[in-house]
């Protein structure tokens, strides 16, 4: 089972590399590192703040875009090219196909995030003339961004398991946008009454909680992120992504591919 999963995952990763997805990294790293010295010239005392905000936001945004645009084609492309039938005719189960695709895309995003982070940290080092202990908080923000990718990838895979690429992209972007305001939704549910409260609560727990995964503003101001938040965010992401992937497996297992 493990070998079948890793074969699908590696194949998905190779395909992404072949699609030149990782080329954006070179552009990103080059732009960020090259522009780092410029930040001190366009602003006073906030060059590090601007660099951290721009850098972390770019890592998050690039990753989400890649997750969605690759994710929407993971299943439909295989059906279109008829390669899915070749895969499933071998001793590969449908759930293994979905789980393998998820792992492959996550692998792509992890490499993407890791290389971007290296470029970003070099830029921080140039701007701040070295790294300080507080700069470790930046890595927590990057870690939360990777958790964000896990959720978005699972959602995109879920949508791609039953709908067209365009529809999957629309749904994934919408849920990503709603997810960033999920805390507002929960606060609204807490202050609502009656049937509105029930619907708002259901929606608040159903949509992904991406609000607590964004600590960019906090770390940009050298504020530490609590250990409890790291632990619970990790736990939540693993559980939520696994639940959504289970949903994707459920739909794909019942789907008539003939």
């Amino acid at each position: 089972m493990t070998s079948r999963l890793s074969a699908i995952a590696l194949n998905t990763f190779r395909e992404a590399v072949r699609d030149r997805v990782l080329y954006n990294l070179i552009i990103f790293v080059f732009l960020l590192v090259a522009s780092a010295p410029l930040f001190s010239q366009i602003s006073i005392d906030v060059e590090r703040l601007i660099l951290v905000n721009v850098g972390l936001s770019a890592i998050s945004l690039f990753g989400v875009i890649i997750a969605i645009f690759i994710g929407i084609g993971l299943v439909s492309k295989e059906i279109e090219k008829r390669t899915l039938y070749t895969i499933l005719s071998r001793p590969v189960r449908r759930w293994e196909f979905i789980a393998g695709k998820y792992c492959g895309l996550m692998m792509t995003l992890l490499v993407n995030a890791a290389l971007m982070t290296v470029g970003f940290m070099i830029a921080v080092m140039i701007t701040s003339h070295g790294l300080k202990a507080q700069d470790m908080h930046l890595l927590v923000a990057v870690y939360f961004t990777v958790l964000e990718f896990m959720v978005v990838t699972a959602l995109t895979l879920l949508f791609s398991s039953f709908s067209s690429p365009i529809f999957s992209a629309i749904l994934s972007f919408s849920l990503f946008a709603i997810g960033t305001f999920s805390l507002d939704l929960r606060n609204f549910a807490a202050s609502a009454h009656g049937i509105t409260k029930m619907f708002a609560l259901a929606a608040a727990y159903l949509v992904p909680n991406l609000a607590s995964l964004n600590v960019i503003a906090q770390v940009a101001h050298d504020q530490p992120v609590g250990g409890a938040l790291v632990l619970y965010n990790t736990l939540y992401t693993v559980l939520y992504s696994a639940a959504v992937t289970a949903g994707a497996v459920l739909i794909f297992e019942r789907r008539n591919l003939k």
Partner: protein
């Protein structure tokens, strides 16, 4: 059970169990971050104008989100009887930067700001700043001048500024005629109960916010009780002058023809008759804005 059916059953069970686990984890996240987590991001925002630039044309939508956050922040703090509302003004400032035409944010927001804690932030100067910003953006809204006059009169005790606000508001086309009356009253009746009642009634009739409306009801009840007690004390003193003794029950005043019946407060309870002509309410907690000085008068 075939392989596919087995996978469906396992996936269904996993879906439910994992999702339930995710909800529990989310509740833990919320308790780790605190109720104001979404709102505290204003601490890191340089200004509302920057947020507007970053909103890519969706500033009006974002203004509604910030206004909702301001209301929720105020509501949470109010429920906790908080003495501090540090984030209220920044939230309102960002909201109105994002959408300068969002009149409700100026009007209701300034009421939240001006009242003394725990009923408000106790920042009448910031309430005035917010309303003046609102008047610049919406000079045709006469109700904004009404709220400005209200803040100057009741919270800042600046009767001259209150009179000017009501007078300017009365000149706005469409303003109700009593705005001119209010301007006149400001000069004549500095700090009297009837004027305060007129103002709170105006707030009660114009607001759509439940918090403000509830606050106005409590203010009106407290002011009505003060008016009642002032009148009752006069009648008790008259009884004392006529009979040479202080009455011990209301029935004695009714029998003496000084009262039509046993007097009840706005909460429906009988007023307390204290020794030596004092009058007070049965349950002061029903009247949180009752002036303690009224007990002595």
């Amino acid at each position: 059970m075939n392989q596919s059916r087995k996978t469906i059953v396992i996936a269904s069970v996993l879906l439910v169990v994992l999702f339930a686990g995710a909800i529990v984890a989310l509740q833990k996240i919320d308790s780790a971050r605190g109720k104001d987590a979404a709102i505290e991001e204003v601490l890191y925002l340089p200004s509302g104008k920057t947020v507007k630039r970053l909103s890519l044309g969706y500033s009006s939508l974002l203004a509604v989100v910030y206004w909702t956050r301001a209301v929720q922040y105020f509501g949470n703090r109010h429920l906790q009887d908080s003495k501090r509302y540090d984030l209220l003004y920044p939230l309102l400032d960002i909201t109105t930067d994002l959408d300068p035409q969002l009149v409700v944010a100026y009007q209701t927001g300034s009421i939240f700001l001006c009242q003394s804690p725990p009923n408000g932030a106790g920042e009448p100067d910031k309430a005035v700043a917010l309303l003046e910003k609102g008047i610049v953006a919406n000079p045709e809204v006469w109700r904004m001048y009404f709220t400005l006059g209200f803040v100057h009169y009741l919270e800042r005790k600046d009767y001259k500024a209150a009179e000017q606000a009501f007078r300017k508001g009365s000149e706005v086309p469409g303003a109700l005629p009593w705005m001119r009356t209010m301007a006149a009253r400001m000069a004549e009746h500095a700090q009297d109960i009837e004027t305060a009642m007129l103002l709170w009634r105006g707030i009660y009739e114009t607001t759509h916010d439940k918090n403000v409306r509830d606050g106005a009801v409590k203010h009106l009840a407290s002011l009505q009780a003060e008016i009642d007690m002032r009148e009752l004390r006069i009648r008790v003193r008259t009884y004392h002058e006529k009979k040479g003794v202080w009455p011990t029950t209301w029935t004695e005043l009714v029998r003496a023809g000084l009262l039509g019946g046993v007097p009840v407060d706005p909460a429906g309870q009988i007023y307390k008759l204290l020794p030596e002509g004092g009058v007070w309410v049965e349950d002061p907690s029903q009247f949180p804005f009752l002036d303690q000085a009224a007990l002595a008068n």
